[in-house]
């Protein structure tokens, strides 16, 4: 006699759907969306800083001038005019390229998906930083890649460790296909690779003939105004560069891009057409009109100043309030600081208590595929105001104190069982 499992398709799902399941930790983020909760979890850009009226005018003008085109299918590679403007945007990070090699995508997340689809068979290895962006780990998982984490230091991915990891992968008879890195203002670690570090990593990738996938959504958001030069600026053949307007204009537009060597680009376009036919013309032409008529560099400067003020509020309040033994990174740009809790504490186990205290963060284990990271958490300062950030840190400090009390009572090294399912928030909080 068989019962019911309430899902008639349960035996039909692909292996890659394994892990797509309910999680108690993920459910807690539903509470984090409530206004009473100071959410230091979400990586949502503060789009309220955009000049709303000017943006409305931009959309209006675009529709008046190019309405029928905006509402129609478009090219799978993306609007040619926008691609030319993207070339201009990439000059800011030192990249010189041709618009033929740009593929516009539905956010850079889709570019990440397409590159993985084109490069990776099940079981292929992708080398990533330890920790790495949740959304990238999800893509690699969905294509059944094996993710290998490579250690970082204060300057990001460590080249010697990368070389060792590649050698070990090859010795196991596996195929390393991609090196995925976020060189500037890393998500979640908050660190930035220097020029020498970038050159060394590129040298490893070229020597080993592994495509280097450079994800650069935060590159223009350095707080001192200097813009790190992209790795792609030094090599047009070995690097696939991913860019995004999510942090420099608005994430709701979902416009990003990939810049790839021509052979890769051809395949990305075909893969994009089979996935979505074409990116949204409406969104692309809106971005194009915005870039053509609005002071976008000034707007980025506004974002930088706003995020720097919030970063300062976070760091100052942590210095004042967090219990001894807590450490954190000092980001020079971007959205995130990476926190190391006092010894014996477990950020995943602590999250329910934090949410009950009306503060939310993302537990560090979500940024690894192999169970590491329990002593870490990621704090985002991009969305809450400085006052709310200070209040959030005050609440978090109290929670850490309570958790320390538990450790004193029960001893360190008593992690609760890791909950099943994805223990990270949805896209509005990644």
């Amino acid at each position: 006699m068989s019962g019911t499992r309430l899902d008639p398709w349960v035996d039909s799902y692909a292996q890659r759907a394994h892990g797509m399941s309910a999680s108690a930790i993920r459910a807690l983020f539903a509470v984090a969306a409530r206004p009473e909760v100071v959410s230091l979890a979400g990586g949502m850009p503060y789009v309220q800083a955009l000049a709303g009226d000017a943006f409305a005018d931009t959309v209006h003008r675009m529709l008046q001038a190019r309405g029928p085109q905006a509402l129609q299918y478009g090219s799978g590679q993306g609007d040619v005019g926008l691609r030319e403007q993207i070339i201009e945007v990439m000059r800011e990070v030192g990249i010189s390229a041709h618009s033929d090699d740009v593929v516009v995508t539905t956010g850079s997340q889709m570019a990440l998906d397409l590159v993985t689809r084109v490069f990776c068979d099940p079981g292929d290895v992708v080398l990533v930083e330890a920790p790495s962006y949740v959304g990238a780990l999800g893509v690699f998982h969905s294509y059944q890649c094996q993710v290998v984490h490579v250690p970082m230091d204060d300057e990001g991915l460590v080249p010697t460790a990368l070389q060792e990891a590649i050698t070990a992968v090859r010795q196991r008879g596996q195929r390393p296909k991609l090196i995925y890195t976020i060189p500037s203002f890393h998500n979640p670690a908050g660190v930035t690779q220097g020029a020498r570090r970038r050159a060394d990593l590129l040298a490893v990738a070229l020597r080993e003939r592994i495509a280097l996938l450079e994800d650069d959504p935060y590159g223009l958001l350095g707080f001192d105004g200097t813009v790190p030069q992209a790795i792609r600026a030094d090599d047009p053949e070995g690097v696939i560069y991913l860019g995004s307007f999510s942090k420099t204009i608005a994430s709701g537009l979902r416009v990003g891009w990939a810049l790839a060597p021509h052979g890769v680009r051809e395949k990305l376009v075909l893969a994009a057409e089979s996935a979505v036919l074409c990116p949204s013309n409406y969104a692309q032409l809106t971005v194009s009109e915005y870039l053509a008529t609005q002071p976008w560099r000034e707007q980025i400067k506004t974002f930088r100043e706003l995020y720097r003020e919030r970063r300062d509020a976070l760091l100052e309040s942590m210095t004042t309030m967090m219990p001894a033994g807590t450490r954190w990174t000092t980001p020079a740009g971007g959205f995130y600081s990476w926190i190391t809790l006092p010894e014996g504490l477990d950020a995943t186990a602590m999250l329910p208590r934090a949410v009950a205290a009306l503060v939310a963060y993302v537990p560090g284990s979500g940024f690894y595929v192999d169970g590491q990271g329990r002593e870490h958490l990621r704090l985002s300062y991009c969305y809450p105001t400085p006052d709310r950030i200070r209040e959030g840190v005050r609440r978090l400090a109290g929670v850490v104190e309570q958790e320390l009390e538990l450790v004193r009572t029960f001893g360190p090294g008593n992690p609760a069982a890791q909950p099943e399912g994805r223990s990270v928030p949805g896209p509005d909080a990644q």
Binding site: R5, L6, A24, A27, M350, T409, A417, E420
Partner: protein
């Protein structure tokens, strides 16, 4: 009868997401079965009392899970506003929500419930965790189940089979509540027995046998369709099912519950049902047990909820 009904769901508990899904499902089912009614869904926040005072719904369905929703507080507020609501009174909800109190009342009424201790975090701090845990293990034996005394969806719940698993289980439980219930583990068949009272006295709906994938009906197993296998009717002898039903009905009566409840129990290998806990705002999501039980009994969620709403309105009218 043309009624305005407010479904309250959400809140700030860790079960917010489950509650929102329960609320949406009940509201949609009610709109379908009572198309003339005005059914609204409200979150529970600082605006709620103002909304209730302004709109004065004819009846309220509290579907908040966890504290505030099931601990009686919200029901006290609804009663003080003289708003009819579906489900148990504040007093009964309070008794049912606190697991040690519910177990004590059930035990006092000579029903079986596994031996247990309820210990606050401070006890371990003051007396020494290792010593207390050893004493607990000596008293109850292993394995035991550790869970928060207040809360649902198995959040913070672990099975401890070996002494060295105890500290992790305690830390996990204390993440959700300040007091932990440590209960002797009973091996057997996990069963949920739902009780519905539409005015003719409480009646049992078909018991649901629960077979989770790794022995623990945890959050993942509860809310991921396809993970847990359910059997309705449960694969137990008739006399065992009758005993389980009798236990659920007696729990409903002893705790003074009203309208509906879901009792979770274990039937051991000798066929004896053991009370674990009872819920006064049962989950109503796609994978929840109460809707499965209703469907097996030939009821629809919408019609059953409609009758409970009408009953709440009549009850308030005296």
């Amino acid at each position: 009868m043309n009624l305005q009904v407010a479904v309250l769901a959400g809140g700030l508990s860790p079960e917010r997401d489950v509650s929102l899904r329960s609320g949406r499902r009940v509201a949609e089912a009610l709109r379908e079965s009572a198309p003339d009614w005005e059914v609204t869904e409200w979150d529970v926040d600082g605006r709620l009392l103002g909304c209730l005072a302004e709109h004065r719904p004819d009846a309220v369905i509290p579907l908040l899970h966890g504290a505030a929703g099931e601990d009686g507080a919200l029901r006290d507020v609804l009663a003080s506003l003289e708003l009819p609501f579906v489900g148990s009174s504040a007093r009964s909800a309070r008794l049912a929500f606190d697991k040690p109190i519910a177990k004590a009342l059930v035990d006092g009424a000579e029903m079986r419930t596994p031996a247990a201790l309820a210990l606050p975090q401070s006890t371990f701090r003051e007396l020494g965790a290792a010593e207390v845990l050893q004493a607990v293990a000596d008293h109850l034996g292993l394995p035991v189940v550790v869970k928060p005394t207040r809360g649902g969806s198995a959040l913070g719940t672990s099975i401890v089979r070996y002494q060295d698993e105890f500290p992790g289980a305690m830390v996990s439980s204390f993440a959700y509540a300040d007091v932990a219930l440590i209960e002797r583990f009973v091996d057997g068949t996990e069963l949920a027995v739902c009780v519905l009272d539409e005015g003719d006295g409480p009646t049992m709906l078909p018991p649901v046998e629960i077979v989770p994938p790794n022995g623990l009906y945890d959050y993942h197993a509860r809310y991921t369709a396809g993970t847990t296998e359910f059997f309705i009717p449960a694969r137990l002898a008739d006399h065992v099912l009758a005993a389980a039903a009798d236990l659920a009905l007696r729990v409903h009566t002893v705790l003074g519950l009203r309208d509906w409840s879901r009792t979770d129990l274990i039937v051991d290998h000798a066929g004896t049902p053991w009370f674990l806990e009872v819920n006064v705002a049962p989950g109503m999501t796609e994978t929840s047990l109460f809707p499965q039980s209703l469907t097996a009994a030939g009821h629809s969620v919408g019609k059953a909820m409609r009758r409970l709403v009408e009953q709440a309105v009549r009850r308030a009218a005296g």
